[in-house]
Amino acid sequence: MMNKLFFSLSIAALIVSAPASAQQSKGTIAILVNALDNPYYAAEAKGAEIRAKELGYETITLSHNEDVNKQNELVNLVIGRGVKGIVLDNADSASSVATVRQAKEKGVPVALINREIPEDGLAIVQMTHNNMQAGSEVARLFVKEIGEEGEYVELTCNLADKNCVTRSEAFHQVLDNYPGLKMVARQDAKGALLPGQQAMDSILQEHPNIKGVICGNGPVALGAIASLLSANRPDVKVVGIDGSNDERDSILSDKLKASVMLQAQVLAIHGVDLLDKYLATGKTDEAERQMTRGILITKANAGNVNDFYYTEKK
């Protein structure tokens, strides 16, 4: 008992004698995204980090892995650590409202990228990709590729992510206009390569006459292609959305027909720029909700894609 008391007291003494916090440079910006092993989120984080360092900030990059509670805890922690601003690709829009509001109340501006929240006035900016436009453009190209009659398959990305739902709606708003096109299967491939490949394997057994596969994101499209190639079906046309380097390479080697590059880096960079402006002047002078177009990528312009950044080569 005495020993326990002794240790409790020494911990208390440690807390009381805590050193004052060290002096900061221009401050730290926290970058909080989803899983860092997905090239899209890695590109977002990289774009934001590089830009923030250019502007003179230090950065701390974290991942919340789609867990809203972890996101809440991480935001609280970095605020406690004294960050000047947060770039956030949030997990589940509705549940993130309270977290962003708390950050605002503590005086830490938040720039939301890739996913929105349903309330205005909490984040300094909400930047999203125009998933509707991305989905429509790739669906229109899909129709040109497979014609107006035939069977096709839809493999979605993780339908718990609102962006994936939007893309699927965009596909159908185009494809359902063609009564000759029949969707024979639709599967949630969780936005990952392996489930995409496995789903394609099973569906191909069941429906050997399909003409094309339309996918909700890049990893799923690449998974579908892997499956089709191993089943020796290069005639089935596959399209996706995302625009990672792997997809670019697949398009250049004629495996993937098309994709839409989401300008991950542009979003991240602009988010950091607006945080910088807000910290300097107290406002952004721009609209809160901003959409950025996705860029349709085919063999003709695939060479311009690198790490989710599109450079027009003149």
């Binding site: 911990i11 650590r81 004294g82």
Partner: protein, 339 residues
């Protein structure tokens, strides 16, 4: 006898290892990370602590009886969904709808948690299902139920409406009272109650007895089934409290809330010196174990350690804790033998 004395010193150190561990962790991070021991950060860490610590209270009692509860994470999720549903849509009865005030909503969610825990207890005692299997099954069933309750979507915007008299739910997670936030107070109160049950009531002694030697306990007249039923219900109740805290802080109920929380709870209990075979350990130790895990987690995040390394370190800490525990057991036996 020099060797016995030094063995006894080593033994004391081992018995206090969880406190030493906490001290070392706090020391390390306070030296390497700015702001770690600032008042602000400590209050934030205290809030994070409540999630693991409250779960570890219930888990301690379960593990003390020699069982395990894998379903607490799912109960966290479903209690949030129950609360969310009641706040947004109320309870339809015939032609009208009843809206409960936030206190009642919280109580109902806790009752649901306790009932699921009781279900676990029933499966384990009367139907003889091993605790690992029973709670594994419940874990999936309850998680599935939470997903089904709103088709995988969240119940958002749980601030209540004045016309429905159900505002104030967010005070559970965000209220402040005498510098400490409500969840921390809940943790303190629940810890005191749990330690009281375990140390000062016959039920507490029965819990240790059942964990130590179930047959002997049964022969000495202890109602083993009732004891087990209580500990699992209590574990479910604790999980429901955590679910309410999280839902209140986020102002929304997410069906996947609490995913993998049971792992942290078990780790906290093991770190705190409770043996997985039951009968040995303290509740206070589990709480300190939760403090260590929390300080480790938050400290690693704040000092920018990559999260892949965080996983490795956390696992190593847990294994180390069990190895040291074994060492302590052997030394203890040796000291007793030579006495």
């Amino acid at each position: 006898m020099a060797s016995v004395k030094s063995t006894k010193t080593v033994l004391t150190i081992l018995q206090l290892r969880i406190f030493i561990a906490l001290f070392l962790v706090m020391l390390y991070f306070s030296l390497t990370t700015a702001n770690f021991l600032s008042q602000n950060n400590l209050l934030i860490m205290a809030k994070h602590l409540t999630v693991i610590a409250v779960l570890s209270l219930g888990m301690s009692l379960v593990i003390l009886t020699g069982g395990i509860d894998l379903s607490v994470g799912s109960i966290v999720g479903i209690s949030g969904m129950v609360a969310g549903y009641l706040i947004l849509y109320g309870l339809p009865v015939g032609e009208s709808i009843i809206f409960f005030n936030p206190v009642e909503v919280a109580v109902i969610a806790c009752i649901v948690g306790a009932l699921i825990g009781a279900l676990n207890g029933y499966l384990i005692t009367y139907l003889g299902v091993p605790p690992f299997i029973a709670t594994l099954g419940t874990m999936y069933i309850v998680r599935g139920a939470a997903m089904l309750s709103n088709n995988g979507a969240t119940f958002a915007n749980l601030v209540g409406r004045p016309e429905l008299d159900n505002t104030g739910f967010n005070l559970i997670g965000n209220g402040e009272f005498l510098w400490l936030s409500t969840p921390v107070w809940l943790l303190i109160i629940l810890t005191i109650i749990t330690i009281f049950i375990v140390r000062k009531t016959p039920l507490g002694r029965h819990i240790y007895a059942v964990g130590g030697n179930e047959q002997a306990a049964r022969f000495s007249g202890i109602r083993v089934n009732r004891v087990k039923l209580f500990v699992y219900s209590f574990s479910g109740f604790c999980a429901a409290v955590v679910g309410l805290i999280i839902t209140s802080q986020l102002e929304s109920a997410h069906p996947n809330a609490g995913n993998t929380f049971e792992m942290n709870a078990i780790a906290a209990v093991v770190l705190g010196g409770t043996s997985l075979s039951g009968g040995r350990g303290t509740v206070f130790g589990s709480v300190i174990g939760a403090c260590v895990i929390c300080a480790l987690n938050d400290g690693m995040v704040m000092s920018g350690i990559s999260e892949f390394w965080q996983m490795v370190i956390k696992g190593a800490v847990i294994v180390l804790a069990v190895v040291v525990d074994q060492l302590q057991q052997r030394l203890q036996a040796r000291v007793l033998a030579s006495a």
